[in-house]
C-alpha cells in the first residue's frame, strides 16, 4: 500500500472514531446501566474478560424483572488494564454517567482500592467478585461490598485443613500478585501457629519455567506444597513437580477452580498425595445453579469459565435485585444510587449460584461457606464433579 493510501486510511479511521465519540451522551428516559471494570487487555485479561462475561450473562438471564417494570437495562463494560490510573479515570467516567446505578468489579485489589474512593464519593454501589484484600472493606464504606472470602480467612482455612490432614512440613509458593501473596501470607501465619514447619516461602512471577524454583522444593520434600495464585500457573507447577519425582500433596486456593487446571495438569494432579483446593463458590453438586451456569457459559463463549466468572454472575444478580427492590420502593421510577446501595445491604439471604449472601456492616458476606475440594478426574469436562472433602462456615473478621 502506498504511503498516501495508508495515511488516508488512518485519517478515515480517526474520523470514524471521533464521530463515534458523539454517540455516548443520549440516554432514554428509563434507561439503567450497570458497569463492570476488570482487566480486558494485558496479561490478566484471561480472568478479567470472564468477569465481564459472567456479568453479561447474568444481565441477559436475570434482567427480566427490571424490563417488566419498564426499564431498559444495559451493560457498560470498562477496561481497567489492571492499572490503578486507568481504574480511577474509568471510575470517574462511570460516576459521571447518571444512568449507571452499580458497578461489578474489580479483579485487582490494587485497582479496586483507589477506584472505590471515587465510588464512595458519589455513592455508587460496588459489589466485588474477586477482591480478597482485607483493606477493601475495612474502610467501612456503605458502597463497597464483596462476595468472596477474604485472604485472612481463606489462608487460615487452608492451613487448618493441612494440619487436620497431618501435614508436618510445607512449602509455600505464590505468584507475587496481591491476591496470591495475600492468601499465602495468611496460610503461612496460620501454618506456623498450627506447628507446621515451613520449609520455604517463595514468590515467583515466572509463568512457565519452574525448574529452578522446584529444586529447593524437591530437596526439602515437604508433605504439602501450597500455591497461592491462579490455575494456569499452579497446575503447571504441580505437573512439573510431579515429573521431578515429588510425591506429596498439593493444595491451592480458589484461583485454582478452573477446568484449565485439569487440562494443564492432567493425571499428575491425581497421583501421589492428590490435589486439594479451597473455594467459596459452591460446586455443581451442592448448587445446581453452578452446573447450569457452566453449561450456558461454555455454550455462549465456547470456553469454560475462568475463576471468578461465577462470582461475577452473582454480583450482577445482586445489583439487579437491589435495583429492582429500590425501584419498586420508589414507585417504579429510576432509584437513586444511595437507595440502591442501601438495598444491597438490605438483602437477606440472597441465593446466588456461588452461595447465599447477606452483607454485614462493612460489606463482607456474613458467614461465607468454604469448601475444600479434591481433584478426582483428569478430564477437564468433569471438573465440576470434583468432590467436596470438607465444608466450613466462617464469619469474616470484624
Amino acid at each position: 500500500m502506498s504511503k498516501r493510501r495508508i495515511s488516508v486510511f488512518s485519517m478515515m479511521v480517526a474520523a470514524g472514531m471521533t464521530l463515534a465519540l458523539i454517540g455516548s451522551a443520549g440516554a432514554a428516559d428509563k434507561a439503567i446501566k450497570v458497569a463492570t471494570q476488570s482487566p480486558l487487555s494485558g496479561d490478566q485479561s484471561l480472568t478479567g474478560v470472564d468477569i465481564k462475561r459472567g456479568a453479561e450473562m447474568a444481565l441477559e438471564q436475570l434482567g427480566g424483572p427490571l424490563t417488566a417494570l419498564g426499564f431498559k437495562v444495559t451493560l457498560a463494560p470498562f477496561d481497567d488494564q489492571a492499572n490503578p490510573d486507568n481504574g480511577v479515570a474509568n471510575a470517574k467516567q462511570i460516576v459521571s454517567d447518571p444512568a449507571i446505578l452499580g458497578i461489578v468489579g474489580h479483579y485487582n485489589s490494587g485497582v479496586q482500592i483507589p477506584s472505590s474512593e471515587v465510588y464512595h464519593t458519589s455513592g455508587l454501589v460496588n459489589v466485588s467478585p474477586a477482591n480478597t484484600n482485607p483493606k477493601v472493606t475495612t474502610r467501612g464504606y456503605l458502597e463497597v461490598n464483596r462476595i468472596v472470602g477474604r485472604d485472612d480467612v481463606q489462608g487460615v482455612v487452608g492451613a487448618d485443613f493441612a494440619a487436620a490432614k497431618g501435614v508436618k512440613t510445607a512449602f509455600v509458593v505464590h505468584d507475587k500478585s496481591a491476591y496470591g501473596q495475600g492468601i499465602a501470607e495468611f496460610f503461612k501465619k496460620r501454618a506456623e501457629e498450627n506447628k507446621i514447619k515451613l520449609l520455604g516461602f517463595e514468590g515467583t512471577e515466572e509463568k512457565a519455567n519452574f525448574d529452578a524454583l522446584l529444586s529447593p522444593v524437591i530437596a526439602g520434600n515437604p508433605d504439602m506444597v501450597y500455591f497461592g495464585g491462579m490455575a494456569a500457573q499452579a497446575a503447571l507447577l504441580f505437573k512439573q513437580a510431579r515429573e521431578k519425582g515429588y510425591e506429596g500433596t498439593f493444595m491451592s486456593d480458589d484461583g485454582f477452580d478452573s477446568a484449565d487446571a485439569a487440562k494443564i495438569g492432567g493425571k499428575t494432579l491425581l497421583s501421589g498425595g492428590g490435589t486439594f483446593y479451597s473455594t467459596v463458590a459452591g460446586p455443581a453438586s451442592v448448587y445446581p445453579g453452578t452446573a447450569k451456569f457452566i453449561e450456558d457459559f461454555t455454550a455462549k463463549y465456547k470456553a469454560a469459565p475462568q475463576p471468578f466468572a461465577a462470582q461475577s454472575f452473582d454480583c450482577m444478580a445482586i445489583v439487579l435485585k437491589a435495583i429492582e427492590n429500590a425501584a419498586v420502593a420508589n414507585k417504579n421510577e429510576v432509584p437513586t444510587r444511595e437507595a440502591v446501595a442501601k438495598a444491597v445491604r438490605a438483602l437477606q439471604g440472597f441465593k446466588g449460584i456461588t452461595g447465599t449472601y447477606t452483607f454485614n456492616a462493612i460489606g463482607d458476606p456474613e458467614k461465607s461457606l468454604y469448601f475444600i475440594q479434591q481433584v478426582k478426574s483428569a478430564d477437564p469436562a468433569a471438573w465440576p464433579t470434583n468432590p467436596i472433602v470438607q465444608t466450613l462456615e466462617i464469619a469474616p473478621p470484624k
Binding site: L40, D79, K92, A178
Partner: protein, 446 residues
C-alpha cells in the same frame, strides 16, 4: 495538494484580528458546549483543541497568556467539578506531559533512548509513599498482616518538602543509572535501561521481606495528603457554586488542588526545559545526539552531559511521582510497568522528540486516546451490540459482532501502531522541534 491548499487557507486566516477572533470563538464555543452537555466527549475535545488553536494562531503573547490563564484557572475548574472525569483526564494529561517532558530531555535533547523511564517515576512515588504513610511502622509485618491503628511517620504537610526531596532523590537515581551506561550507545543503552526499569519494578514488588519496605504487590495505602483548610472550600463555593450548579465537597477541592499543583510543576518544568534548550548545555546535547565522535572532538565533556541529561529527566519524573502518590493516596507496583515506559515514549515520539509543545501535544493525544476515545468507541460498539441495530448495506446485525472485537482491549496495538506509523511517515513528530525542522528541510532538498 490538499495539504498545501489548507496551509494557504490557514496562513490567510492567521493574521491580524482574524486570529484573535478565531481563538476566542473556539474557546467560547468549547466552554459553552461542555457546560451545556457535560457528558459529551466531542464537546470536551472541542474545548481541549482550543488550546491547540491558542498555540498555532499568531496573537500577542500577553493575550495568549491571559486567555490561557482564564482557561486553566477558571474554566477548567468549573467544568472539572461539573464532570469529575474531565478533571481526571486533564490531571492525567498534566502528569504524563511532565513525564514526557522529562523523557524528552533524555531522548529528544540528548538522544539517549531510555526504555525504563518509569523507574524514576516509581522512585518518587515510593519515596512519599514510604515516608507519608504508616509503612515505617509496618517494616516488620508481612504484607496484609499489619494491625490497624498504626501512626503515620510524617504529617501530611511534609508533602511540600518532599516535592523537593523527590527532585533530589530521583536526580541521584538518574545519575546512578547514567554512570554504568555512559559508554553505551543506541541499542545497548535501550536494552540496559529496559532492564533497569524492570529491576525497579521487581524490587518494588519484592522488597517486602526481610523488611517490609514497599509492602509488595498489595501496595501502600493510605498515603497522606497535605491539609486542606476549610476556608478554601467555602471561598470556592461562594464564588463558583452558582456557576457550577451545586456546592463542591472536600474531595472535589482536593482534586482541584492537585490539578493546580500539577499545572504549577509543569510550568516550572517548561521553564527549565526552555532555558536548557537555549543554553550551552542544550547545544552540547544536540551535538552529542547528532554525532558523538565529532562532539568529543570539539571538547564537549561527554560524561557530564549524559549524566546531567539523565539527572534532569529523572528529577521531573520524581516530582510527578510524589504528586501522584499524594493525589491517589495509594501506590502499587502495577502503575510502573514496561507498558507505561513505552506509553511515555510513544507520547514523545508522536508529539515530536526535542520539541516542548510537541511533547505536550503527544501526551494529551495519547492520554485522550487511551482514556476517552478508545473507551468511548468501545462503549458505543457495546451499546450497538446490545441493541437490535443492523449495518444497512451488508445487513450485518451488530449483535453478531464478536465480543473479541472490543477496541478498549487493544491498547498495545494502538501504541504499536502509533510508533510504527510515526516512524515511517513522520519521524520528526506532529510538532517537530525547531532545530529538527531545519535538518528535515535540508534532507528534503538533497
Amino acid at each position: 495538494m490538499v495539504s498545501s491548499y489548507l496551509k494557504a487557507l490557514f496562513d490567510k486566516v492567521n493574521q491580524g484580528p482574524l486570529a484573535y477572533v478565531f481563538i476566542l470563538v473556539h474557546m467560547i464555543a468549547g466552554t459553552f458546549l461542555v457546560y451545556t452537555q457535560p457528558r459529551s466527549n466531542l464537546a470536551f475535545l472541542v474545548l481541549i483543541t482550543s488550546f491547540l488553536s491558542l498555540y498555532f494562531f499568531r496573537a500577542d503573547a500577553r493575550f495568549k497568556l491571559i486567555v490561557a490563564a482564564i482557561m486553566a484557572l477558571v474554566i477548567i475548574p468549573i467544568i472539572g467539578v461539573r464532570n469529575i472525569f474531565y478533571l481526571e483526564v486533564i490531571f492525567q494529561i498534566s502528569v504524563f506531559a511532565a513525564l514526557a517532558l522529562g523523557l524528552n530531555i533524555v531522548v529528544g535533547f540528548a538522544g539517549l533512548l531510555d526504555l525504563g523511564y518509569v523507574a524514576f517515576y516509581a522512585v518518587g512515588a515510593y519515596l512519599w509513599a514510604f515516608f507519608g504513610s504508616q509503612q515505617f511502622y509496618v517494616l516488620h509485618f508481612a504484607p496484609g498482616t499489619q494491625p490497624a491503628g498504626l501512626p503515620f511517620l510524617l504529617p501530611g504537610d511534609a508533602f511540600y518538602m518532599f516535592l523537593l526531596v523527590g527532585v533530589v532523590i530521583a536526580g541521584l537515581t538518574g545519575i546512578l543509572l547514567g554512570l554504568p551506561v555512559l559508554r553505551l550507545k543506541g541499542d545497548y543503552l535501550a536494552i540496559v535501561t529496559l532492564g533497569f526499569g524492570e529491576v525497579i519494578r521487581v524490587l518494588a514488588n519484592n522488597l517486602d521481606k526481610p523488611l517490609n519496605i514497599t509492602n509488595g504487590p498489595q501496595g501502600i495505602t493510605p498515603i497522606q495528603r497535605p491539609t486542606m483548610p476549610e476556608f478554601a472550600v467555602d471561598w470556592f463555593n461562594t464564588i463558583f457554586s452558582p456557576l457550577i450548579g451545586h456546592p463542591i465537597s472536600r474531595a472535589d477541592m482536593y482534586n482541584l488542588m492537585f490539578y493546580i499543583l500539577a499545572l504549577m510543576v509543569i510550568i516550572v518544568i517548561i521553564f527549565v526545559t526552555r532555558r536548557l534548550d537555549d543554553s550551552k548545555l542544550g547545544r552540547a546535547w544536540t551535538a552529542v545526539r547528532e554525532d558523538e565522535t565529532a562532539a568529543i572532538a570539539q571538547g564537549i565533556p561527554l560524561v557530564r552531559m549524559k549524566l546531567t541529561a539523565f539527572a534532569v529527566g529523572a528529577s521531573f519524573a520524581g516530582v510527578m511521582g510524589v504528586l501522584l502518590a499524594a493525589s491517589r493516596t495509594f501506590i502499587s507496583p502495577e502503575s510502573f510497568t514496561f507498558m507505561q515506559s513505552i506509553g511515555v515514549l510513544s507520547m514523545v515520539i508522536l508529539g515530536g522528540s526535542g520539541s516542548i509543545p510537541g511533547v505536550i501535544l503527544g501526551a494529551a493525544t495519547v492520554t485522550i486516546l487511551n482514556l476517552q476515545v478508545l473507551q468511548g468507541f468501545s462503549l458505543y460498539l457495546n451499546d450497538l451490540r446490545q441493541s437490535d441495530a443492523v449495518i444497512p448495506v451488508i445487513n450485518f446485525a451488530w449483535k453478531n459482532l464478536s465480543t473479541q472485537l472490543d477496541p478498549a482491549k487493544y491498547q498495545k496495538l494502538l501504541f504499536g501502531l502509533i510508533l510504527i506509523l510515526m516512524m515511517i511517515f513522520r519521524p520528526a513528530g506532529l510538532i517537530p522541534a525547531k532545530r529538527r525542522k531545519r535538518d528535515v528541510a535540508r534532507e528534503e532538498t538533497k
